[in-house]
Amino acid sequence: MQQSKRWAWLKSWEALMFIILCAVVVANLRLSEHYLDLNNLANIFHLSIEKSLVVLIMAFVIINGEIDLSVASVMGLSATVLAERYDAGWPIAAGFALALCVGILCGLLNGLFSAYMGIPSLIVTLAGLIGYRGVARILLEDRSVGDFPSWFTSLGQDGIIGPFPLTIFVFIALFILGFVILQYSVFGRYVYAIGNNRAAAEYAGINAKQVKVTIFMASGLIAALAGAFYAARLGNVRANAAEGFELDIITIVLLGGVSIFGGTGTMIGVGLSLLVVLNLRNGMSLSNVDGNTQTSVIGLLLILSVLVPNLIQLLQRLLPRLFSVIAGFMNKGGATKPKSQVSVHQ
C-alpha cells in the first residue's frame, strides 16, 4: 500500500502532462538546432503572453462551473480604450488605468447577468464576445493608433533580463498568485465547492453569486491587462486586436485537466498544459508547419491525452475478462477444473 501511494501521483493528469511536455521538448531538440537559442526560449512565452495570462484566470472561471467567451473581446476593448485615450492626449498610465476599469466593468456585467439573472454564462459571454468587440469598433472605427511612448512599447518588447521582457515576469508572478489562491486559500476552496455542487455550497453559507461575480470581474481585469500587454507588444492597436483568442485559451485550460462541468483541475495541470501547447507550437513553427496543421495537431493531442489513459484502463478491465473467457474455453475442452475458476482473481 505504501508503494501504491508513492506512485499514485503517476496516474494523475499532471504527470501525464509532464510526460507529454518532456516528449515535446525532446522532439523539439531533435527537430531544430535553434530551439535552445535564448531568443527562441523567450519567444516561446513572449509571443503568447496575452493568452497565457488569460489562461490563468480562465482556469478559475471554468473550475467555478462557468465559461467566459468574451475574454478576447475584452482584451481588444481594453487595448482600444488605452489607445483611444492616448490618441486623445491622455498619458499612457491614465489610459491604462481606464482600460483596467473597463475590463472590470465588462466582467461585472458578465457576472451580474449570469450569476444574478440566471442566464447561462455561455450566452451572456457570447453576447459579450460580440458586444464588447462592437464597443471597440465604435471607439476606433477603422483607425489604428500607435506611436506609443518608447518606454511603454519597450516594456512589451525588450528584454529586462536577457531577452525576457517584463511581461513574462508579470505572468510568473500571477501564476504563483493564482496557484496559491486556487490551491491554498479559502476563496479557492469556495471556487471548487461551487463548481462541483452549487446548491451544497450555498447551503454551507457560501454566497455563490458573489464568488462568481468576483471571478468574472477578475477575468475582465486580467483580460484587460493582457490587452494592454498586447498593445505594448505590437506597438499599435486596431479594433480587431486579439480577435479569436478565446478558443485557444479554452483549449489550453481543458488540456490542463479542467473539467468543463467545473469542480476539477489544478493550476499545476494548467501550467503544464500551457507549456506543452506553447512548446509544441514553437517546435512546429520552427519546422514550418502551417497554422491549420498546428491546430489539428493540438486537437489530436487534446483527444489522445484523454483517450490513451482511458484505453489503458479499459484494457486493464477487459483483458482479465478476455483471459477468463479464453481460460473457460480451454477448460471446457481440456482438464476439468472447479467451476469457481471462471472468474479470475485480479
Binding site: V186, R189, Y192, A199, A201, Y203, A204, S340, S343
Partner: protein, 508 residues
C-alpha cells in the same frame, strides 16, 4: 422455501483501492422470501447490491441464477434476468415527469410513447403505494421522500423475480412504511424474492423471513428471523456488546433563542407558532410531505416565509439567504445529502470544514491543512466514520458514512441554533446512539436544536417538545412526558383535530 434458490452469491469479493468492501461473501435468496441484510455503515451492503445489478463487477466469486452462473455487465442485463433494485440514494431524472421516471427503464416498451396510457399506468402504480403525486409534474425539486416513492414505484412496476431494496424506508414515516410493507407482502405471495436493507431494526423484524449480517465486508451469519433477537443481530453487526441504550438527560433551559409567530409560506405551510429555548430540542414530527422541511428552509433563509414573524435572540429578523443565517449562527443539516449536503468529489476533510473554513485561515489567509486534519480526525473517531483516508472523496463513502460527514460538517460550525433534517437517515444503530448522545451534549452546552425526523422513536427519545404537522398545518405541540407514539400518529394523520380534548397544546 423448499424450492431451489433463485439467486446465489458465492464467495464474492470486491476491492476499491485500499478498501476491501467485500471479502468472499455468500448469500442465497429464495422465491417468496423477504431476506434482510444487516450491517454497520460501510459493511458492504450497497456494494453487494450493485454487484447483483451489474453496476460493479466482482473481483472474484460468482453469481448463480437458478443454479446457472451469470455475468452481469450493466443493469440492463440484470433487468433482463428479472432483477430490479431500489438504490439507497434515489436518483430520479429531474427533467422527466414522474410518469416517465417510473417507466423509463422498461425495456420492452413500445418504440413509440403513448402518453395517455403512460399517465394512466403511472397513476395506477402510485395508487398501489397509496400516494397521490401528479404524474405529469417534472421530478425536479421533488422532496427526497417523494423521490424515494418514485423509485419504489419504478421498481414494482417492473416484472421482477428479485426485488432489492436498499434502505427504502430511510426517509419515510410509519404511515408510508405500512403501505410499502403491504406491497411487499403481496409480492412475496406471488413468489418474488426480496432483499431488504434497513437500519431500523424494528422494521426488519416485522417483515423479514431471514436475516443475514455482514461486518467489515465479511459474512457473519444467516438465520431465520424467529431464531434471532435484535440484541443478537446488533452484536453480530458491531462485533461487541453495544452499551446501554442511550437515554436523554434533561438540560438546563436557557433563554428563548427562537420564537416563531404565524409563520406562513403558501401553499406549503401556514401559521406555525413555537418558541425554542437554549438547551432544548424541539422535535418536528409528521408524515412525509407535511411541510416540515419547508419550515426549516424558511428558517434557514432558502425559501423565505411570506408572512409571520421570526424573533431570533430577542430581535426580529428577516432571513433571506443561507449566508445570512449562517452568519447569525443558524445552521441547517439538509435531508438530501447528495444534492445539498455534500460536495461529492471533494475530500471528506474539505467537506467537513467547508462551512467553517474561514476559521482555519492563518495570518496570510491560507487554509491550514493541519488544523483541518485534526478536526476531521476527531469527528472520524467520534462518529466512527469508516474510511481508509481523510482525503477520500465524500462520494465514495457508503451512504451512512456520508451522512456522518454531513453531520460533522454542521456540528463543527458551533451554531446557536441547529436545525436537523432527518439527521440519522441511513445511520447504523451504533452510530445513531452516538449522534443522539452528541445532540444531547450540544443541548446541554446551551444550543437550541430543531430536529425533523420521520423516525418516531427517535423523535420521542430526543425531544423536549414535539411539534406535529399535517399538510402544512401545525397540529399541536406536545410535552415529551405526555407524548406517545399513538398521540403523535393520531395528530399526524389528522384525527386529533376533531377531538379538542385530546389536543395537548402546551406552548402558547
Amino acid at each position: 422455501m423448499t424450492a431451489d434458490p433463485l439467486l446465489e452469491i458465492r464467495n464474492v469479493s470486491k476491492q476499491f483501492g485500499a478498501t476491501k468492501a467485500l471479502s468472499s461473501v455468500s448469500l442465497s435468496l429464495y422465491p417468496g422470501e423477504v431476506h434482510a441484510l444487516l450491517g454497520e455503515n460501510g459493511a458492504g451492503k450497497s456494494t453487494l447490491i450493485k454487484i447483483m445489478t451489474g453496476i460493479y463487477q466482482p473481483d472474484s466469486g460468482e453469481i448463480l441464477l437458478q443454479g446457472r452462473p451469470i455475468s452481469l455487465h450493466n443493469s440492463a442485463q440484470a433487468q433482463k434476468h428479472g432483477i430490479a433494485a431500489i438504490y439507497q440514494e434515489p436518483l430520479v431524472f429531474p427533467d422527466l415527469n414522474i410518469a416517465e421516471n417510473i417507466f423509463i427503464s422498461h425495456q420492452r416498451r413500445n418504440p413509440l410513447v403513448r402518453w395517455g396510457k403512460l399517465y394512466r399506468d403511472a397513476e395506477k402504480v402510485l395508487a398501489q403505494l397509496g400516494v397521490a403525486l401528479d404524474v405529469r409534474a417534472l421530478a425536479r425539486g421533488l422532496p427526497l421522500a417523494a423521490q424515494q416513492t418514485v423509485e419504489i414505484a419504478k421498481a414494482i412496476s417492473m416484472d421482477v423475480r428479485l426485488l432489492i431494496m436498499d434502505e427504502p424506508t430511510a426517509s419515510l414515516s410509519i404511515h408510508e412504511v405500512k403501505q410499502l410493507f403491504g406491497l411487499v407482502h403481496n409480492l412475496r405471495k406471488v413468489g418474488v424474492a426480496i432483499l431488504f436493507i434497513s437500519h431500523r431494526l424494528d422494521e426488519v423484524f416485522e417483515i423479514a423471513d431471514r436475516v443475514t449480517v455482514f461486518r467489515d465486508g465479511q459474512f457473519i451469519s444467516t438465520a431465520p428471523v424467529t431464531e434471532v433477537t435484535p440484541e443478537q443481530a446488533i452484536r453480530d453487526m458491531v462485533g461487541r456488546e453495544l452499551g446501554d441504550i442511550f437515554s436523554k438527560e434533561p438540560s438546563p433551559r436557557g433563554d428563548v433563542v427562537l420564537s416563531v409567530k404565524d409563520l406562513s409560506r403558501e401553499p406549503r405551510f401556514h401559521n406555525i407558532n413555537f418558541e425554542l429555548h437554549a438547551g432544548e430540542v424541539l422535535g418536528l414530527a409528521g408524515l412525509v410531505g407535511a411541510g416540515r422541511t419547508d419550515v426549516a428552509l424558511a428558517l434557514f433563509g432558502i425559501a423565505p416565509a411570506h408572512h409571520g414573524h421570526i424573533t431570533y435572540l430577542g430581535k426580529e429578523v428577516h432571513l433571506h439567504s443561507p449566508k445570512q443565517a449562517t452568519h447569525m449562527g443558524i445552521v441547517y443539516v439538509p435531508e438530501d445529502r447528495r444534492q445539498h449536503g455534500l460536495v461529492l468529489p471533494m475530500s471528506l476533510m474539505a467537506n467537513i470544514s467547508l462551512p467553517s473554513v474561514k476559521n482555519y485561515r492563518n495570518q496570510f489567509g491560507m487554509v491550514q491543512r493541519g488544523k483541518e486534519v485534526t478536526t476531521a480526525e476527531q469527528y472520524r473517531q467520534q462518529l466512527s466514520i469508516r474510511t481508509s483516508s481523510l482525503a477520500m472523496p465524500a462520494g465514495k463513502l457508503s451512504g451512512g458514512n456520508q451522512q456522518k460527514v454531513v453531520l460533522s460538517k454542521w456540528l463543527n460550525t458551533k451554531p446557536r441554533l441547529l436545525i436537523l433534517d432527518e439527521p440519522t437517515r441511513g445511520i447504523d444503530v451504533g452510530a445513531k446512539q452516538e449522534v443522539h448522545r452528541l445532540i444531547n451534549q450540544l443541548a446541554q452546552q446551551g444550543m437550541a436544536i430543531l430536529m425533523i425526523s420521520s423516525d418516531l422513536p427517535e423523535v420521542l427519545a430526543m425531544s423536549d417538545w414535539i411539534l406535529v404537522m399535517r399538510e402544512g398545518q401545525q397540529m399541536g405541540i406536545f410535552d415529551r412526558h405526555e407524548a406517545t407514539q399513538e398521540i403523535i400518529m393520531a395528530a399526524a394523520v389528522g384525527q386529533a383535530l376533531n377531538n379538542e380534548a385530546e389536543r395537548a397544546v402546551v406552548h402558547a
